[in-house]
Structures are given as structure tokens and as C-alpha cells.
């Protein structure tokens, strides 16, 4: 039963894809076999129809080549003025992408999708402009020929003998919502060509004549038709899938193409792409980097880079695999990835070499098991003759050769000294030891030299006749040969081990660098410190200067202050583009390649968090895909860390908001209660006096009036506390520090409490030599008043209060202790919280007094705490740091 129902996840993915498609503009490609079939004409006609239907149509760029009937179609259509670009003295007409985006038509017509933009344009290729238009939700009509399809590029080149440099990725054609084939029979096209109706640039007359041959045109027509048919077929399959018609789900094919440094690997990649398309299978391109391949000439390495990029553009996932043997690495990877088909090029090694060293294909076939292996002929691409493979002229490491010679000399010396004790044959061992040492330390070249020198030295110094290279006994020749072979094999092995170690170390270094950064990021809080760490690590690993651009509060991008190179408006513009399009751009890419740095989006799961700018010391250092992938991994780690920090900040903000909310409601209930109680008393007492008038006896009247006054006092204190608290919390509180004798402040507090202290025993002990303290006297007086007020409130009327001040070098400590009931155990810290009351049921205070004390003491840089006294009662202590030196006071006689 379930077979009839599409998988819900797949359905969801389809719905999402449809949504994304609805937001994107629609792409229609007018597709032809060759120039002159009438694509532009068909496109403009279609645009006119749309215009007639009331659609807002803009002609962004149309190449009429001066043909009257085509130009006539432009009449009545709004045309976007071309952007004029000065390039090497010539003025080039280019499509104005920014103008089109600003104008925002419903449908735009942009001719010649494969066009390469003039240098200095935002994108290298016009198809990238089109993608941006589509992203902006604008429908696009465009044209292209079959020879511009990337994966058909080499096929076309083979048919026509002309290599087309301007290509469009297949993915674009696959993404197109509509592909309209503009078809003309070859004979008609030839007729048109002869009539001069096909535009031909002057400089290419000959080439084009060769191109417009019937055979070519038939082949190209077939290609175009087939390509369109494949598309129709794919649509059909999609339709069937969407409507649950196809019960047999596509088999899980997965293709792996092995890339070699050879000149034909681009062809191999294109072939694999076509195969993968026909199978409807995902495909992977892998390059195995063996130690030998690391020594390849720079040119061959560049070719590998380009091939990997091509594969990526054609929709493959690309990997660079480290390994000793290509076949082993490929097979391990294939098994790991559930690859079902491996595509390799036909081996180009001469037959004898294949027999001696073995062929990769043979090894693959032997170890492939149930994986199919396709071998594709390795013909050279036309028009791209491979450069003769030559060894990289690596800078000769002269000191190493010097050391090799020195080691041989040393070996000769040792042999000379031991000659009286050993036979001649044993001396060979001394030389072999020298060769091994040279091989492990200095690599293959020097060890080769050491082998030859050793044989020569042995011959010259020890083999009779001594001090000549002549050999008396022919048996020695055999010794020499064996010695040379052993030396060579040893050096080869040692050198390989060394290379492996170097390769392993490089990989390990990268992994370790990534790990080090991740670990440091994980243990860091806050966006700024995180960025500092990321910038430092990435800068070191990729030997580059780094900037980070982040969106500010208002969404505008600004450079993070810790960047390592300044960003001008152009560079910032590139960064903005990257941020908006979530794609890399800048140095070494096809988009805005004129930038001085490469810009990567910092993509986190929730969305982009910023842009990473990387300016390598060597402009081409980041061209290799594995370098780029590595950089992307670093960027991803950074983005994740930034998002984590932002989430943490948000969580904290939320926590603070909740806390504030809780406090606010607590405040409201507390304040409304505390305000109402005294008001009720005042209102009640006053109304009694008013209404009962003369009937009240003098004593009752007196009592009522006293309670009015007491409650008014209480109300006053509450309002005072609330104001004080608000000032403390709003940050409006400014300390007016001056040098004060503490005794005076205590005295002021005591006299302010005045009548309340009547009858209380207050012991004050302030040492006469207590230094002046830098405090705000009004605020510290408030602290003392609040603490004393509490002592009065919570202790019996006759119990004594003690005020004591002591001093250390760092601070003056004030202690106010009472002999009351003390604090509930474990509540010594909580009492400083806002709205906390030691005895809620008694509800005598606002619960703010101590919180205010704490705020004031903290503002002075001090600390306040409470402790129950062993002899009963509680002591409140606070410190006032002694900052600076007290000013001198001139004495008088």
C-alpha cells in the first residue's frame, strides 16, 4: 500500500522546492543548434506576445546584428540602455545588471547566455547575471546554442574542430523552467548562411566557413534535439515521480570519476557527467594525491585544479584523496561512498611500463568487486594540445647535495681507517649506511648522487689498482652493480617514507589547526573574542590577511574592528554581495574577480552571520579546491561559533527580560500594597477627625493625628527608596566622591534618624586616626540610615546598637550590629535582593533598603554583607575602598 504513496519527506522537499521556485524568477531558454537558426527572433516574438498580454517586459540586451526583421521586433518594447565599458581603448556594450535590478521588470530579455562579460563587471559570465536576476524574482528569456553546453563542449569540438571557449553550466539548462528548441533544417540554414543572413564576425570568416558544413550542422542539430529530448524525458520522469506513477524507484546508482593530472581528464569528467545524467545518478569526482603526484610540474597540478572545478560546475561533489596507490585509495573511497560505477581514463602508459609497474585499470578491475568499472578512451582534446610533461624544475637544493658528498667522504674515511681490519667486501656496508642516512635526511636526489659517488669512491680508493677507476678483477664490477642497485632501491624507499611523512604531516597539521581553532572557539564566549581567535587561526593556516564583516543592529554591513586589512567601499561592496547571495566571490572566483581578497559567506544553520575576507600572501594560494574546501570548513566553524555566541546572548537577553518582568510584577504588587496601607490609615484617620469633629476626645484626636504623621513618614521613606532604587538601576546615579572623615557621615546619619533613636543606646567607635575616605557622603549616609533604620525596626526598643569603623591599607570597614533576633539561617545573602523581606508577614519595609545599600556600596567599589553574631543579633558590614592618597591639610599653630 505504501508503494502508492510518495514518501512524505520527498513530498515536503518537493513542496519546498516549488515554493523556492515560486519566489525565483522563471527562466526560459531559446535553444538552437547553431548561430543563425533564429533564436533571438523567436525570443523577441515571444516577448512581444507577453507584452501584448500586459506583462511588464524589458529588453535587457538583444543582439540583432543589424538584421532588419529582428530590429523591427524591438519596436514598441522598452529597451534597457547598455552599459558602456572602456577596455583596451575599445568601448564594449554590456548588459547593465544593476540597471535591470533597479528597474525590476516582470520579464527581462537577455540575449546570448554564454557571453563573457568585460573585465571589471560584477560577474565573469552573463549566465551569472541571469542567475542574479532570477534570484531577484525576475523572469528571464535568453538564448544559447548547443555548443555552449558545458558537458557537450568537447563533443562539439570533436564534430566541428572548433573549440568553443564560452560555456554555460549544464545546471543552468536543467534549472530552466522552459527550453524552447528553435530548429531549422540544415539545408535552410546553409541557404541563409550563403545569403549572408547569418552574422559572422569579420575575423572569423574562414573558421565559420568550415563550421557551416552540412555534416556539422546535421550533427549539431542531432545534439540539440537529443539534449532537448533528454530534458523532456527528465520532465516526464519528474512528472511520473510527482504523481506516484513510477513505482520502481530509481536505482541508487552513484558514479565516481577518477581524475588524473593528464590532459584528457576534462573530457573524462564531461563524459562522466553525461553518463550520470542518463542514469539520473549523483556523481563524485575524486583525485588521488600520491606522493609522486605532489612532485608534478605546476602546470599539471593546475590542470587537476581546473578539472576538479569543472566537475564541481557540472554538479559533481569533488574530493582530493591522499594515498599511496591510486587504485587502493579509489576503491576504499568507492566502497565507503556506495559507488556503483567507476569511470577511469584508458591508461596511457606504454605497454612495457604497464607490465613492469602494473596498470591502475587492472588494479581497479581486480579490486572492484561488484562495482562496474568503465574505461573511457583517453583521446586528447582538440585544440588543447597537452604540454609535454616534464619534471618540475624544482629549485635544486645545493646544500643537500653538499651533505650527500660529505657523507660519502666520511664513509670513505671510515673505510680507510678500518681497511686493515676488514675485507674489502665489508666496506660496501659502510657506504650503504651512508646512502641510507642521506636518503632519509635529504631525499631522493642527494641519495642518488650518494649512491653513484659511493661506487666511484669504492672503486677509486679501495679496488685494486688503487687510485684509478680501472678494475683489475671483473668480479668487482658485479659488486658495484649490486651496490648501486641496493643504493638506488634504498634511497627510493627512504625517500618515499619521507614523502609519506611529509604528506601525513601536512594533513595532520591542517586537521590539528582546525581542531585547535574549534577547541579554542568552544571555550570562548562573546562574539569579539571568538572572531579574534578565528582571525588569528585562519590567518596562520592560510598565510593570509583576514577581515570579518558583520551586519550591525540596523542590518548594514560593517567591518569588524579586528580585521587585518582595510576595506574600501569596493571591497565592502563585494562582501555585501556575498552576504546577500550566500556565495563566495572575489579573488580567484568567477564573481567580482577584481577584488583583492576572497570573500566567503559565514553560513550558520539559522542563516548568514557575516562574511569572511581572505587576502592570501600568494594570489593563487587558494585556487586549489582542497584549499578552498579547507577554508570553507574553517569559515563554517567560525560561523557556528558566532551563531552560538549570538544565541547565548539572545538567551541571556531573554533571561534578563524574564527577570525584569518578574521584578516588575513583584514591584507592582509590593508597591501597590505598600503605598495603599499608609494611605488607608491616613485617609481613615483624617476622615474620622473631620466627620466626628468635636465629639472626639482630645486623646483619641491626638492618637489619630500621630498615626497620620507616622504613616506619612512611612510613605515618604517608601517613595524615597523607590526613587533611590530607580536612580541606581537606571545608571543615573553619579558618585560625587570627596574626601570625608567617616565620623562626620555617621554623625549626619544619626542626627537624621533623630527622634527614632530616642532612648536607644548607640555605641560608636571610630578610631580618631581613621583616614579620610573618598566617598559620596550623601549616599553613604543613606547606607548608614538604611542599616540603622533596619536595626531599629527589627530589634526590641531597648536593645543597643553598635557602630564600629576599622581600617586596613585597602579599605575602611564599617560594622553596624544589633542584639536582635538575627537573620533566618541561610538568608544572609538573600536579604540584599530587591523586595526580599526577612519577615514577609510583618511587611514593615519596602524590601528595598538593603538592595539600595548594596547598590551604593558596589558603586563605591566596596562589598556589603551580613552575619549572625555568635552572641546573638546580626552584624551588617560594608567596606569602602581607599582609592588614591588623601589630600594633605595644612596644620595651624
Amino acid at each position: 500500500m505504501t508503494v502508492d504513496r510518495p514518501d512524505p519527506d520527498a513530498l515536503l522537499a518537493r513542496v519546498k522546492a516549488e515554493e523556492a521556485r515560486a519566489r525565483r524568477g522563471k527562466l526560459k531558454v531559446f535553444f538552437g543548434a547553431a548561430a543563425g537558426v533564429g533564436k533571438t527572433y523567436a525570443m523577441l516574438e515571444a516577448a512581444r506576445e507577453q507584452r501584448a498580454d500586459g506583462v511588464d517586459v524589458l529588453v535587457g540586451y538583444a543582439e540583432t546584428h543589424g538584421r532588419a526583421e529582428t530590429e523591427a521586433l524591438l519596436e514598441g518594447l522598452e529597451t534597457l540602455p547598455a552599459r558602456l565599458v572602456e577596455y583596451r581603448g575599445a568601448t564594449l556594450r554590456e548588459f547593465d545588471l544593476d540597471g535591470a535590478l533597479a528597474r525590476r521588470p516582470r520579464l527581462i530579455v537577455v540575449d546570448e547566455l554564454a557571453h563573457t562579460n568585460a573585465p571589471g563587471s560584477r560577474h565573469a559570465k552573463r549566465w551569472q547575471d541571469v542567475l542574479e536576476l532570477l534570484d531577484a524574482g525576475i523572469d528571464v528569456y535568453t538564448t544559447m546554442n548547443v555548443q555552449h553546453v558545458e558537458s557537450l563542449n568537447d563533443v562539439v569540438a570533436k564534430i566541428t574542430g572548433i573549440v568553443v571557449r564560452e560555456t554555460v553550466p549544464d545546471s543552468l539548462l536543467e534549472q530552466a523552467d522552459d527550453v524552447e528548441l528553435v530548429d531549422v533544417p540544415p539545408d535552410d540554414l546553409l541557404e541563409r548562411f550563403k545569403d549572408g543572413k547569418v552574422y559572422v564576425p569579420d575575423q572569423a570568416q574562414e573558421a565559420v566557413k568550415n563550421f557551416f558544413r552540412k555534416g556539422n550542422l546535421i550533427a549539431l542539430r542531432e545534439l540539440a534535439l537529443r539534449r532537448t529530448a533528454e530534458r523532456v524525458d527528465a520532465q516526464m520522469r519528474l512528472y511520473m515521480r510527482e504523481h506516484a506513477i513510477d513505482k520502481a524507484w530509481p536505482t541508487a546508482e552513484r558514479l565516481l570519476v577518477c581524475i588524473s593530472p593528464g590532459p584528457d581528464s576534462a573530457r573524462l569528467v564531461r563524459a562522466a557527467k553525461r553518463m550520470a545524467d542518463r542514469l539520473g545518478a549523483p556523481w563524485v569526482a575524486a583525485y588521488v594525491e600520491t606522493p609522486a603526484q605532489r612532485r608534478l610540474p605546476a602546470e599539471a597540478r593546475d590542470r587537476v585544479t581546473q578539472t576538479l572545478r569543472l566537475a564541481e560546475q557540472l554538479g559533481a561533489e569533488t574530493y582530493t584523496l591522499p594515498g599511496q596507490k591510486m587504485s587502493e585509495a579509489i576503491l576504499a573511497f568507492a566502497h565507503d561512498r556506495n559507488v556503483t560505477k567507476i569511470v577511469v581514463g584508458k591508461p596511457r602508459r606504454p605497454r612495457w611500463k604497464r607490465i613492469v609497474i602494473g596498470s591502475i585499470v587492472d588494479a581497479l578491475v581486480q579490486g572492484s568487486g561488484d562495482i562496474d568499472v568503465y574505461v573511457i578512451s583517453a583521446e586528447r582534446e582538440d585544440g588543447a594540445p597537452p604540454a609535454p610533461a616534464r619534471r618540475r624544475p624544482s629549485p635544486t637544493d645545493w646544500p643537500s647535495y653538499g651533505w650527500a658528498t660529505a657523507v660519502v667522504a666520511l664513509a670513505s674515511g671510515v673505510a680507510w681507517l678500518t681497511l686493515p681490519f676488514f675485507e674489502l667486501a665489508n666496506l660496501v656496508m659502510v657506504y650503504l649506511l651512508g646512502i641510507v642516512v642521506v636518503a632519509t635526511r635529504y631525499g631522493q636526489g642527494p641519495s642518488l648522487v650518494a649512491s653513484i659517488l659511493s661506487v666511484a669512491a669504492l672503486d677509486f680508493f679501495f679496488v685494486p689498482p688503487v687510485f684509478t677507476f680501472a678494475v683489475s678483477d671483473i668480479r668487482y664490477v658485479f659488486v658495484f652493480v649490486v651496490m648501486l642497485v641496493v643504493g638506488l632501491v634504498t634511497s627510493r624507499l627512504a625517500a618515499r617514507i619521507r614523502e609519506q611523512a611529509v604528506g601525513a604531516r601536512q594533513r595532520e597539521e591542517r586537521t590539528a589547526a582546525l581542531y585547535a581553532m574549534s577547541r579554542e572557539l568552544a571555550s570562548t564566549r562573546g562574539v569579539d573574542p571568538l572572531l579574534a581567535i578565528a582571525v588569528r587561526h585562519i590567518s596562520e593556516v592560510f598565510r593570509s590577511q583576514i577581515v570579518v564583516v558583520m551586519p550591525g543592529v540596523d542590518g548594514s554591513l560593517t567591518a569588524w574592528s579586528g580585521g587585518q586589512f582595510p576595506l574600501d567601499t569596493n571591497e565592502l561592496g563585494v562582501a555585501r554581495w556575498v552576504h546577500e547571495h550566500h556565495q563566495l566571490a572575489g579573488l580567484g572566483t568567477a564573481t567580482l574577480p577584481g577584488a583583492s581578497a576572497l570573500y566567503l559567506p559565514l553560513q550558520a544553520p539559522r542563516g548568514p552571520v557575516g562574511v569572511l575576507g581572505v587576502r592570501p600572501a600568494d594570489r593563487h594560494a587558494l585556487d586549489a579546491p582542497d584549499q578552498l574546501h579547507q577554508l570553507e570548513t574553517f569559515a563554517n566553524q567560525t560561523a557556528l561559533a558566532i551563531e552560538r555566541a549570538q544565541l547565548a546572548d539572545e538567551a541571556q537577553d531573554a533571561q534578563v527580560r524574564i527577570e525584569t518582568e518578574r521584578l516588575r510584577s513583584s514591584l507592582l504588587s509590593s508597591v501597590s500594597h505598600d503605598l495603599r496601607t499608609p494611605l488607608a490609615t491616613i485617609t481613615g484617620a483624617a476622615s474620622t477627625i473631620l466627620e466626628s469633629g468635636p465629639r472626639l476626645d482630645a486623646q483619641t484626636r491626638q492618637e489619630l493625628l500621630e498615626s497620620v504623621r507616622e504613616e506619612a513618614d512611612r510613605l515618604n521613606r517608601l517613595v524615597q527608596n523607590l526613587l533611590e532604587m530607580t536612580r541606581l538601576e537606571s545608571g543615573a546615579l553619579q558618585l560625587r566622591r570627596e574626601w570625608h572623615p567617616l565620623e562626620e557621615v555617621i554623625g549626619a546619619a544619626l542626627s537624621r534618624l533623630g527622634k527614632k533613636l530616642a532612648g536607644r543606646k548607640v555605641h560608636t567607635s571610630v578610631p580618631p586616626d581613621l583616614p579620610l575616605v573618598p566617598i559620596d557622603d550623601v549616599l553613604v549616609e543613606q547606607v548608614l540610615v538604611n542599616l540603622l533604620d533596619n536595626a531599629i525596626k527589627y530589634t526590641p526598643a531597648e536593645s543597643p546598637i553598635r557602630i564600629m569603623a576599622t581600617s586596613t591599607d585597602e579599605a575602611v570597614t564599617v560594622e553596624i550590629s544589633d542584639r536582635g533576633p538575627g537573620l533566618p539561617r541561610g538568608e544572609e545573602d538573600r536579604i540584599f535582593e530587591k523586595f526580599y523581606r526577612a519577615q514577609p508577614d510583618r511587611g514593615r519595609g519596602s524590601g528595598l533598603g538593603l538592595a539600595i545599600c548594596q547598590g551604593i556600596v558596589k558603586a563605591h567599589g566596596g562589598r556589603i554583607w551580613a552575619q549572625n553574631l555568635p552572641e546573638g543579633g546580626v552584624a551588617f558590614l560594608f567596606t569602602l575602598p581607599r582609592v588614591g592618597t588623601p589630600p594633605a591639610v595644612p596644620a595651624d599653630a
Binding site: E743, E744, P768, D892
Partner: protein, 230 residues
């Protein structure tokens, strides 16, 4: 002597009502103004013995009212202001006000300030016929430069004595740090407020029974000092 005339400049009707009851009950003739402008006119036309000004007036700053009155009159001015606005009080005192009362205040507090103000006006009119100041156990005989607490004669340094006599001169009124510095140390030292505090502490140790709970030399935190007068 006729009943003293008081001009009250206060915009709150409730406070005016309460002060009207209190002051007329105590035998003062009261004239009220609800705005600063009206108040200045009242002061000019009524020739009051004391002016009471609220610092927060709707039409103009109470400080400006004081400054305007001071342009042509030496009448004692008592300021009404809220606690926590010590800076405003000091500014008002420096602008020419004689004393202040913090809201909320009791009637007795305000009446005491008015009495002190009236006494100072009277003292100024028939010059120092009283050379000996007495409050509680403290006696300051300025003619013979003698200071006594109870029967005990106290020896003061010249600055301590100058400080004490300055306070005696303003007895009952608040004196700001600035005023004391200017009068005792001279106008060059108005920034050294700690001088006053240190010498004040010396004075307390010599004159007060319990220096941390002074009876005579009271501190008005953030504003200045007041020598008890009654």
C-alpha cells in the same frame, strides 16, 4: 513690633493651604503667589521680612527667582526643596538663599528656620550688642576670644576659632562648604572642601561630648554645616 510679613511663592495649593494655616496661626501676615513672576511682584510690593520659595515653579526656575530678588533686596529667603537634590540646595544657597527645608517637612521645622532668619535680620539692624553666643553648654565669648564647654575652657587654634566664629555668625542657619572656605581660608581655597571637614572634626572632638553624635555642630550631608542655635 508689627506682625512679620511672609511672602510664600509656591504653586501647590495643598502646601499653600497647610502653610497658610500654620503661619497665620503663628501670627505671621502671609501673602501668597503661585508663580515666580507673581512672587517677585509680591516681594517688591509687600516689603516682607521673610520669603519662602519653592524651587520647582511652573513658570520659572526658583533659582532665578532668588537671583532676581537678590538684585535689589537682602530679605531672608528660605528654599523648599526635595531630599536627594543636595546639588540644587547648594546652588540655591550660593545664589543667595539663606536656608532651606527639605520636603516633606514638619511645621515646627519651617517655623524654626523662619525664627532664625528673623533673628539674623534683627541682629544685623542693631549690630553686635551681643558678643557672647550661648547654646547648651557651649559659650563663645568673641570679645575675649574665649570658648567654654560647661565650666571648662577650651583651647582652639586660630583656624578652629575662625571656623567656629563664622558658624556662630550664621548660628541656626546652614552654611555651605564654599562659604566657610571663603570666610575662613580666603577666596583662593574654595576647592579644598576637605579642609573644612578635617577642622570640623577637630572642633567636634574639642567641643562635643560624643563627636560621632554631635549636639552643636550638625552636618547637612552634601550641603554644609549648621550650628544649633536653640
Amino acid at each position: 513690633m508689627p506682625d512679620p510679613v511672609v511672602v510664600l511663592i509656591e504653586d501647590e495649593p495643598q502646601i499653600r493651604r497647610f502653610l497658610r494655616a500654620t503661619l497665620t496661626g503663628q501670627g505671621y501676615r502671609l501673602f501668597e503667589a503661585a508663580t515666580g513672576a507673581d512672587g517677585i511682584v509680591e516681594v517688591g510690593s509687600r516689603q516682607p521680612d521673610v520669603v519662602i520659595v519653592d524651587l520647582g515653579l511652573p513658570d520659572m526656575d526658583g533659582l532665578d527667582v532668588i537671583r532676581r530678588i537678590r538684585e535689589w533686596s537682602a530679605v531672608p529667603v528660605i528654599v523648599l526643596s526635595a531630599r536627594g537634590q543636595e546639588r540644587d540646595k547648594v546652588t540655591a544657597l550660593d545664589a543667595g538663599a539663606d536656608d532651606y527645608v527639605s520636603k516633606p517637612f514638619s511645621a515646627s521645622e519651617l517655623l524654626a528656620r523662619i525664627r532664625v532668619a528673623l533673628r539674623h535680620t534683627a541682629g544685623a539692624s542693631h549690630e553686635s550688642d551681643e558678643t557672647t553666643f550661648k547654646v547648651g553648654d557651649l559659650r563663645v565669648d568673641q570679645l575675649h576670644r574665649r570658648v567654654q564647654v560647661g565650666e571648662k575652657e577650651i583651647h582652639l587654634t586660630p583656624i578652629e576659632y575662625k571656623l567656629l566664629t563664622t558658624l556662630v555668625h550664621h548660628a541656626g542657619k546652614v552654611v555651605t562648604h564654599q562659604q566657610l572656605l571663603r570666610e575662613v581660608w580666603g577666596p583662593a581655597h574654595t576647592e579644598q572642601a576637605h579642609y573644612v571637614r578635617v577642622y570640623m572634626a577637630h572642633l567636634r572632638h574639642k567641643l562635643e561630648g560624643e563627636p560621632a553624635r554631635p549636639r552643636y555642630l550638625l552636618t547637612e550631608a552634601g550641603v554644609g554645616y549648621r550650628l544649633t542655635a536653640e
